[in-house]
């Protein structure tokens, strides 16, 4: 299995510190196209798609492995090893990839020098009274149902279901490519892994310095979550950006670029 093909890995630039970009749920590596030009002369940039997303090898999708975020964290570690990256990696992750990056850094702390977390949340679900992730179980079940309706064209609803086929590989070819993630089984698996994850207890194990970028009006991640993370992650810095939405790297790339550049130029011990 060639990891670089499996994860559709692209490396831009020859020299400089490595920035590894990890896309969020529902997205793929193209989402970083407004960020990467700013670092093309200073950094070696690595982009990839998680197995099941983008142009990854859907044949490598394993429902068991990718049912939890650890499976996605393993994708990141696999890629680092395949590229022979040993240390000083700057990890930039959006949304669920912030959690995935945290897990990867806990597993192999020596690989990473800094983590940039855009719109992170350790848990989407409400766990009253101490933690309000923003969503109830039913909201997330409704989301999966919405995904069903949007992902699978009506023609596919009427088409016979391939019995016993769990990879979804046979179905995916016929699906609309309007979404970044095109495989319904992989997308639903990723959705469940993302929205039902609870990584709050992992935060104490993070040692790598990190920057938490919190959108001020994020309909997915309540403002208080940024404070929660800052409080629970050692060596973390919190930056609240005045952006509505959850995808500042797309809607306001200049803000994200500036935040990253400022963070990278600040010595760790000053934070």
């Amino acid at each position: 299995m060639n990891i670089l093909t499996r994860n559709n890995v692209h490396v831009y630039g020859e020299t400089g510190p490595v920035i590894l970009y990890a896309h969020g749920f529902g997205c793929n590596q193209n989402m970083w196209s407004r960020i990467t030009p700013a670092f093309e002369h200073s950094h070696r940039q690595v982009l990839f798609d998680y197995v099941g997303s983008g142009q990854s090898d859907i044949g490598a999708f394993d429902v068991k492995r990718y049912a939890s975020l650890d499976g996605y964290a393993q994708d990141i570690l696999d890629i680092c090893d395949a590229l022979n990256l040993k240390k000083d990696i700057i990890f930039v992750g959006h949304s669920v990839s912030a959690s995935i990056g945290l897990l990867a850094s806990i597993a192999r702390p020596e690989l990473f020098s800094r983590l940039v977390l855009i719109g992170p949340t350790p848990c989407f679900l409400n766990n009253p009274p101490n933690y309000m992730g923003g969503f109830e179980q039913q909201d997330l079940e409704d989301l999966l149902s919405l995904m069903d309706q949007n992902y699978i064209g009506w023609a596919n609803y009427l088409a016979p279901v391939v019995a016993g086929s769990t990879s979804g590989a046979n179905v995916s070819a016929e699906l609309s490519d309007s979404f970044c993630s095109t495989d319904p089984v992989a997308a639903k698996t990723f959705a469940r892994a993302t929205f039902f994850a609870d990584n709050r207890k992992d935060l104490i194990n993070v040692t790598c310095p990190s920057l938490i970028i919190q959108h001020s009006k994020d309909s997915l991640v309540p403002l208080a979550i940024g404070d929660y993370l800052h409080e629970h992650i050692k060596n973390s810095a919190l930056k609240v950006i005045d952006v509505a939405g959850h995808c500042a790297h797309l809607s306001h790339p200049e803000i994200i670029i500036k935040a990253i550049q400022e963070y990278l130029s600040t010595p760790v011990h000053d934070q």
């Binding site: 529902g26 949304s95 909201d139 309706q149 279901v161 939405g245 995808c247 809607s251």
Partner: protein
């Protein structure tokens, strides 16, 4: 704005981050809100949470990438907490001088209801399919675990199912065998052989038959095949199940068993098998022939029925000790036939061990060597006896003499050796013939034996010379007395077909230890005494005198 409000579907204009700039009347009516309720708020707030997440994870990334989208299915929060299903189209543009998105909404209440039903139906199908797949997997696991061949052929003789063993037997992959014609798979020859069974199965008659097939690896396999017709609800045969057991190993075991059984039945060796408690389980025909006991008479009995009284308990104890320590005993043993006759057998007793190495059977294989033993005995007898008179010969005589002399060193004793030579025997031979001469010798031998004890020895040296060895004579007088008796009895005339024959005997006597200590010396001196008896006038005895 009039046109905006008169459009037949809800329309929304937002800034690029989703902040509402304007909404037309159809939308406001749908939501049950006024323009001021929603302007400057984020359009997210018009939606249930699930739709918000979808907006953030799918809709905005797509819009930001492509600038437009079509037919996205979402829900709006309507009046009275109703969730209104909508289809969403969007394109970017400039509104009031700002980058904006124009959203066209289609309320798809009716359509959504059907779609919802379809969705439920699909979910049910998915669950049913999953269960079906699970069941199929279960059945496949079972059929693949079965060591036999399992397949299904429809009535067009197309393969519809084949288990792992079936595939391996024919060297096919699961993909390549499905849809294969039976005639192609079996080849013309085998197909022709099987076709009658196939046809019969397709008429609803189950078939069972044996077949030898060449496997994909070239080896020959023996199979036991069953064709089981498959009927539909109307009783029409739509195909048949094939169950084939590979009985190659059973066949070869069977062949070996047959061979072993044939050896068991036809060998000349008697074979007796007992269980560990010594109860007879099986005997072969040779056993019956040798012992006289039939299988019915023997089975269940203890081999003691064969026991003779030839051996002491120690012999049997040793035999069993050998079996216990070495697993085997072989040797000669005297047994007794059903008719009471003792017979000698050369026997091998072997322990058969079970899977756990514990003894479970004893197998006794034996030959009847009685006849051979008798011949051997005869040869042995002839080596030490005179063929004519059956008396011990010189060799045996000298051996006994040696033994007796040796015994006197432990227990001092007298011995007497009488050297006999018939008088007038040569003329009997010459006048009456050797046959009469031989008969005379035999009668003389019997006469001498009648005069002595069983422990004494009479030997014939050859010709008309005999030796009498008296083991325990009290003194010379007793020896002289016995010599006299022998002379008298030999002097009695013998009758041969009305012809009376007289014969005399001269006897020389030596005493041990007085007249010599060595056998040869004693023989020589007895001979000298015998000649002195002859010289003194024959038909008398004479004691050896030192000269």
């Amino acid at each position: 704005m009039d046109i905006f409000n008169q459009l037949p579907c809800p329309v929304l204009i937002t800034e690029s981050d989703g902040t509402v700039q304007a909404a037309n009347l159809p939308l406001l009516n749908l939501l049950g809100k006024s323009q001021s309720d929603i302007v400057h708020k984020n359009m997210d707030e018009l939606m249930p949470l699930a739709s918000r997440i979808f907006m953030q994870t799918h809709v905005f990334p797509m819009l930001l990438r492509d600038g437009n989208l079509q037919e996205i299915y979402l829900k709006l929060n309507g009046k009275d907490n109703l969730k209104i299903p909508i289809l969403l189209n969007c394109t970017s543009g400039i509104f009031e001088g700002r980058d904006s998105y124009f959203w066209i909404l289609f309320v798809s209440q009716e359509r959504s209801k059907f779609e919802q039903e379809l969705l439920v139906a699909r979910k049910r199908t998915e669950i049913a399919n999953f269960e079906l797949a699970k069941r199929e997997h279960f059945i496949k696991t079972i059929t693949d675990t079965v060591p036999g061949l399992v397949a299904y052929w429809d009535k067009e003789l197309t393969c519809r199912f084949a288990n792992k063993v079936y595939l391996e037997w024919f060297g096919k992959s699961p993909e390549s065998i499905l849809g294969t014609q039976l005639s192609d798979l079996l080849g013309a020859q085998l197909f022709a052989a099987n076709e009658p069974y196939v046809r019969a199965a397709l008429t609803g008659e189950p078939q069972n038959f044996e077949r030898t097939i060449t496997k994909a690896d070239g080896s020959l396999g023996h199979t036991l095949a069953s064709y089981i017709p498959d009927e539909n609800e109307d009783g029409e045969v739509v195909g048949f199940f094939v169950l084939v057991s590979d009985v190659t190993s059973i066949k070869s075991v069977q062949t070996e068993l047959k061979l072993a059984a044939s050896v068991f039945d036809n060998t000349l060796e008697g074979i007796m098998i007992t269980d560990i408690n010594g109860s007879i389980i099986s005997v072969n025909p040779a056993f019956t022939q040798i012992t006289g006991y039939s299988a019915e008479e023997s089975i269940g009995q203890n081999p003691r029925i064969l026991k003779s009284n030839h051996h002491k308990p120690e012999f049997y104890a040793m035999l069993w000790r050998d079996i216990a320590t070495q697993g085997q005993w072989r040797g000669e043993i005297w047994n007794r036939r059903k008719n009471g006759e003792a017979f000698l057998e050369w026997q091998t007793i072997t322990t058969i061990r079970g899977d756990n190495d514990e003894p479970i059977r004893y197998v006794s294989v034996f030959n009847d060597i009685t006849t051979r033993w008798q011949k051997d005995e005869r040869i042995r007898h002839l080596a030490f006896h005179d063929a004519l008179t059956e008396l011990p010969n010189r060799t045996l005589l000298m051996e006994r003499l040696n033994q007796l002399i040796a015994a006197t060193s432990r227990k001092p004793n007298n011995l007497a050796l009488l050297f006999l030579d018939l008088d007038g025997f040569k003329s009997i031979n010459d006048n009456l013939g050797h046959d009469i001469g031989d008969e005379v010798l035999v009668i003389v031998a019997q006469k001498i034996q009648a005069q002595i004890r069983a422990s004494d020895t009479v030997a014939r040296l050859g010709g008309d010379e005999f030796i009498v060895l008296l083991s325990y004579p009290i003194d010379a007088e007793e020896s002289a007395h016995i010599a006299n008796r022998i002379i008298n009895t030999i002097n009695q005339p013998m009758e041969f077909s009305g012809l009376l024959v007289d014969v005399g005997v001269s006897v020389g006597i030596v005493m041990f230890p007085d007249d010599g200590h060595l056998p040869v010396q004693l023989m020589k001196r007895a001979d000298e005494a015998m000649y002195q008896a002859k010289a003194a006038g024959r038909n008398q005895y004479y004691f050896y005198k030192h000269s």
